[in-house]
């Protein structure tokens, strides 16, 4: 028999056996039920959240446009920006529950994206929530292992393994056949689900980027399921009895999907320590009031600005200036505030990025972490996408406040007089915030180590198949 035919025959036999014992049908049923519930609730929640955000954004925009106020009062009044979700966040909620959704635009204060769900919830939320990604990451691998743990031990226990080897079946072909057989069953279960989940992406016209993201999402999980098919069969090949194989498979699953991800993330967090909120707030406040480096205190900086402004306009006093110095001083304060914030908050951001990078490396030891990272990345629910929103919102905020301060400076109003008011005509001119989503390619690049880790795991499975084949040959020479 040709090698390929041998693998195919074994694979087909495995599929038939699985469906005959109804194990595969049961597993398919459980997977589909859970996926159905996860996708339905995900869609409902997403629709509601998007509706709320859209209504709130319209309300704030309307209030902004209709006001009649001093530009600085308007800057204090400010506005709110809301983080939009990508379509794929229905399937993978990722970090959304732990990240804020609202960004406050306000004078003098650099806010973060606030109000996450986890802030108000009890510890129950830490058990996780039902989503398609959770089903794919945790449940399907377990089901795959339950399908595959006795793939080889069954043959061994019924003495058919010796017969197969005597008949000339190569051990490597046997293991490969078993892996492909199990994987084919998995495909029969998950492919219809992926196709159904892909329909809204195509029908609702979310753009080519969404299609590409969904394609990557599907590919990542298909590779992941293949890995677990391989791991399951390999554990079986290395076990003497089905009982031991079952315990071994469950142990591997617990290790990879439950224990290592938690322990690794905590260890990484401990090794790249973040400051407390108090320390960060204090550093920012002191950085602003006392100044960074040789910049001088806020009073000194203000005096320096006044001197240079007077010099530039060749006048002696602030009252003689053709501009309202209040506006200039406030903008100067804003610029410095931004500098201080970017310095200290930037340190935090770099540390978190370092942690993310380390997590990418850890994914070489754990395919669960790899697929989790990759999945969040393409679903747009990871830290990088959150950061991208924060950056864009912050840029918008800085420009927003600058326009208001400059309007005050050029309003012709006198220094320290607050009578000047701008009307709706001016406020309507202020551009509304538009979030530019990251392209899919960037999301792949941000999780390049995790993508590579998935590939490396495939290679490892291939190598282990050959090693395991040699072991089988040694047992049954």
């Amino acid at each position: 028999m040709k090698k390929q035919n041998m693998v195919l025959t074994i694979a087909v036999k495995e599929v038939v056996a699985a469906f005959r014992s109804r194990v595969a049908t049961l597993l398919a049923f459980i997977t589909w039920i859970l996926l159905g519930v996860a996708v339905y609730t995900g869609m409902q929640q997403e629709r509601e959240a998007a509706g709320k955000k859209s209504r709130a954004a319209s309300l704030f925009r309307h209030e902004w446009e209709e006001q009649e106020a001093n530009p600085h009062s308007a800057a204090h009044f400010g506005t709110y920006l809301f983080k939009p979700h990508t379509f794929l966040s229905i399937y993978d909620h990722g970090l959304n529950r732990f990240l804020g959704e609202t960004y406050r635009v306000e004078a003098h204060v650099q806010h973060e994206v606030n109000h996450s769900e986890a802030e108000t919830a009890g510890s129950q939320l830490r058990f996780g929530e039902l989503s398609a990604a959770m089903v794919f990451q945790l449940l399907v691998p377990l089901l795959v292992l339950l399908l595959s743990f006795n793939a080889i031990t069954r043959e061994r226990e019924s003495n058919t393994l010796r017969l197969l080897l005597i008949q000339g079946v190569k051990p490597a072909a046997l293991i490969r056949g078993k892996i492909w057989g199990i994987y084919f069953i998995v495909l029969l279960v998950v492919l219809p689900a992926f196709l159904l989940m892909g329909i809204p992406v195509i029908v609702q016209d979310h753009g080519q980027d969404a299609l590409l993201r969904y394609g990557l999402f599907t590919v990542a999980y298909l590779v992941y399921f293949f890995l677990f098919s391989g791991i399951g069969v390999l554990v079986s090949a290395w076990s003497r009895h089905s009982n031991a194989a079952l315990i071994g498979s469950l142990g591997v699953w617990f290790l990879l999907a439950v224990l290592v991800p938690r322990a690794a993330v905590r260890m990484i967090d401990e090794n790249n320590r973040l400051p407390s909120r108090f320390e960060l707030n204090r550093r920012i406040a002191q950085g602003y009031s006392k100044g960074m480096g040789e910049d001088g205190t806020s009073i000194e900086r203000n005096r320096k600005l006044l001197d240079s402004t007077l010099k530039r306009y060749k006048v002696d006093s602030v009252q003689q200036l053709p501009v309202n110095f209040d506006g200039l001083a406030m903008q100067n304060g804003e610029d410095y505030n931004t500098k201080v914030y970017e310095h200290y908050a930037g340190e935090v951001e770099r540390t978190v990025r370092q942690q993310q990078e380390s997590l990418g490396w850890v994914s070489f030891f754990d395919p669960f972490i790899a697929v989790q990272q990759v999945s969040m990345g393409v679903a747009g629910t990871d830290y990088h996408h959150h950061l991208s929103f924060h950056r864009q919102a912050k840029t918008y905020r800085d420009e927003f406040i600058r326009i208001l301060n400059m309007d005050l400076a050029n309003s012709g109003s006198a220094y320290l007089s607050y009578g000047y008011k701008a009307g709706p005509e001016f406020f309507k001119k202020m551009k509304d915030f538009r979030y530019n989503p990251q392209p899919a390619g960037l999301a792949v690049g941000q999780h390049r180590w995790s993508w590579l880790a998935l590939a490396a795991w495939c290679l490892l499975v291939y190598i282990l198949v050959n090693i395991s084949a040699k072991r089988l040959t040694n047992i049954y020479p």
Partner: protein, 478 residues
């Protein structure tokens, strides 16, 4: 008694012979110690951060005190004049409310990493709670805690699974079942005695792990005896729950593989599917309000109140705060930006804000209550809540902290307003009379916990009785 001794000796020999099982028990011990280490690191970091708050405050306090007396330079003289102004003290020397980790916090981190544990207090209430949220990598929050509670909740059931899945089938496969049945009178009795031995082994291991946790946990005060006893009681009950599940499934006398698969499915159901389903149901029914209405209201109220004539605002302040009425000076108070005008602005804003925040908070409370009600049916969720409660890291503890911090803020305001409103200066000695925040943890709901423990115990009795019924039924059938 003889049978008990025989089975216990046999089980002991089996345990010593089975290398993989011993490795499993050692792994449990090792992971437990690692989790205690990880919890210690987190709590240790929190202590360092809390200490840094205290140190910073002492530094600020010393500096504030020095300003009263240091008149050696012209700058010093100028500062000494304003050193006792309540507004200056409030700005330069804000107070701090800190929730220090409780003795068992390292063993069950709960909400330690996500809920504010520190609040900076000034005489104007801060509505932006984001300013106190711990700085975190969201991935760490998402991954969850790695502490002893996690090992007990997630790993212990798997150990039960590995140890008990072949409770019945191993005898059957070894061909010793018939012999044992003759000696013991029934197979069920043999299985029960074997289960008892395994319970004792696992319970001993669990108690050792708990004991090590109590000793090694990062703490600055010894944990209370009731807390430790309840911790042991709940972890043992949780162990019994999983043994009950194992016994119930073993009672159906399936092969080891099928039993193992059913137990794995139970693990998945209890620890992943049911809790996540409960979360999803609650999110579906009570989606989180956006707070946008509160934000919009606050902005409008701020503007409206700020533009209110000074006389009305100062009158409003006097009406709501009659204790300061005696020092009122209508000529001064009715000026724009007068002390009473500004105090009146904040006072009125606070009162109005409380009105709109209360329904929002009720909504959140409702949501959490619904989730707690749904989770009450899941022993894993209940066990997690128990352990967190004992460690002072569950929601009620943080809510209590938040309430006490609010109360402290009011005390601070009252203290400073006694100087600020009449325009009196504080003396250096007054700084020693500052109100002090001391967090009082919520009273341990021992009665409620024992009641829940009793209910779980009753449920376990039913589970074991049903298991025995199934076993006996099968016994008679065979």
């Amino acid at each position: 008694m003889k049978l008990l001794k025989t089975i216990f000796i046999f089980e002991w020999r089996q345990l010593c012979r089975q290398g993989w099982l011993l490795s499993g028990l050692c792994l449990f011990l090792a992971v437990s110690l690692l989790s205690v280490y990880s919890g210690n690191r987190t709590v240790g970091k929190r202590w360092v951060q809390a200490d840094s708050v205290r140190e910073a405050y002492h530094k600020d306090f010393e500096a504030a005190l020095k300003r009263f007396t240091d008149t050696s330079t012209s700058k010093g003289k100028a500062e000494a004049k304003t050193a006792g102004m309540a507004a200056v003290i409030n700005f330069r020397l804000p107070q701090h409310a800190v929730k220090y980790p409780e003795p068992l916090a390292a063993l069950s981190l709960g909400l330690t990493d996500i809920r504010p544990w520190h609040e900076q207090v000034r005489y104007v209430k801060n509505y932006n709670d984001a300013t106190e949220m711990p700085v975190n990598n969201p991935m760490t929050l998402f991954a969850g805690n790695f502490d002893l509670a996690f090992v007990i909740i997630y790993f212990l059931p798997l150990l039960v699974l590995a140890y008990c899945y072949s409770l019945y089938s191993s005898e059957k496969e070894a061909g010793t079942l018939a012999m044992l049945a003759v000696q013991a009178g029934s197979v069920a009795r043999v299985v029960r005695l074997k289960l008892l031995f395994r319970f004792l082994v696992l319970a001993a291991l669990l108690l050792v792990v708990n004991g090590l946790g109590f000793v090694l946990a990062e703490k600055r005060a010894a944990p209370g005896v009731p807390q430790m006893l309840l911790w042991c009681l709940f972890s043992l009950l949780y162990l019994l729950f999983w043994l009950g599940i194992a016994y119930f499934i073993v009672a159906f006398r399936q092969g080891a593989t099928a039993t193992g698969m059913y137990l794995a499915a139970c693990w998945m159901l209890v620890l992943v599917i049911l809790p996540s389903l409960a979360n999803t149901i609650v999110q579906q029914r009570h989606s989180l309000p956006l707070k946008d209405e509160i934000a919009a209201y606050r902005r409008h109220q701020s503007e409206e109140i700020w533009n209110t004539p000074a006389r009305i605002l100062s009158d409003s302040f006097n009406r709501y705060n009659p204790q300061y009425a005696s020092t009122a000076d209508p000529a001064k108070d009715t000026l724009h930006l007068s002390t009473r005008y500004v105090a009146g602005y904040y006072d009125l804003l606070e009162r109005r804000m409380e009105r709109v925040i209360a329904p929002y908070e009720r909504e959140i409370e409702d949501r959490n209550r619904q989730l707690a009600a749904l989770s009450a049916w899941n022993p894993a969720s209940v066990a997690q809540q128990w352990l967190n409660t004992l460690a002072g890291t569950e929601l009620p503890a943080y809510d209590q902290f938040s309430r006490q911090a609010d109360q402290f803020q009011r005390s601070w305001k009252t203290f400073l307003y006694d100087f600020h409103i009449p325009g009196k200066q504080l003396q250096a000695a007054d700084l020693e009379r500052f109100p002090v925040f001391r967090y009082q943890p919520p009273e341990l709901p021992v009665r409620g916990m024992l009641y829940q423990a009793f209910m779980l115990f009753c449920g376990l009795c039913v589970l074991f009785a049903t298991g025995s019924f199934v076993f006996n039924g099968k016994d008679q059938a065979s």
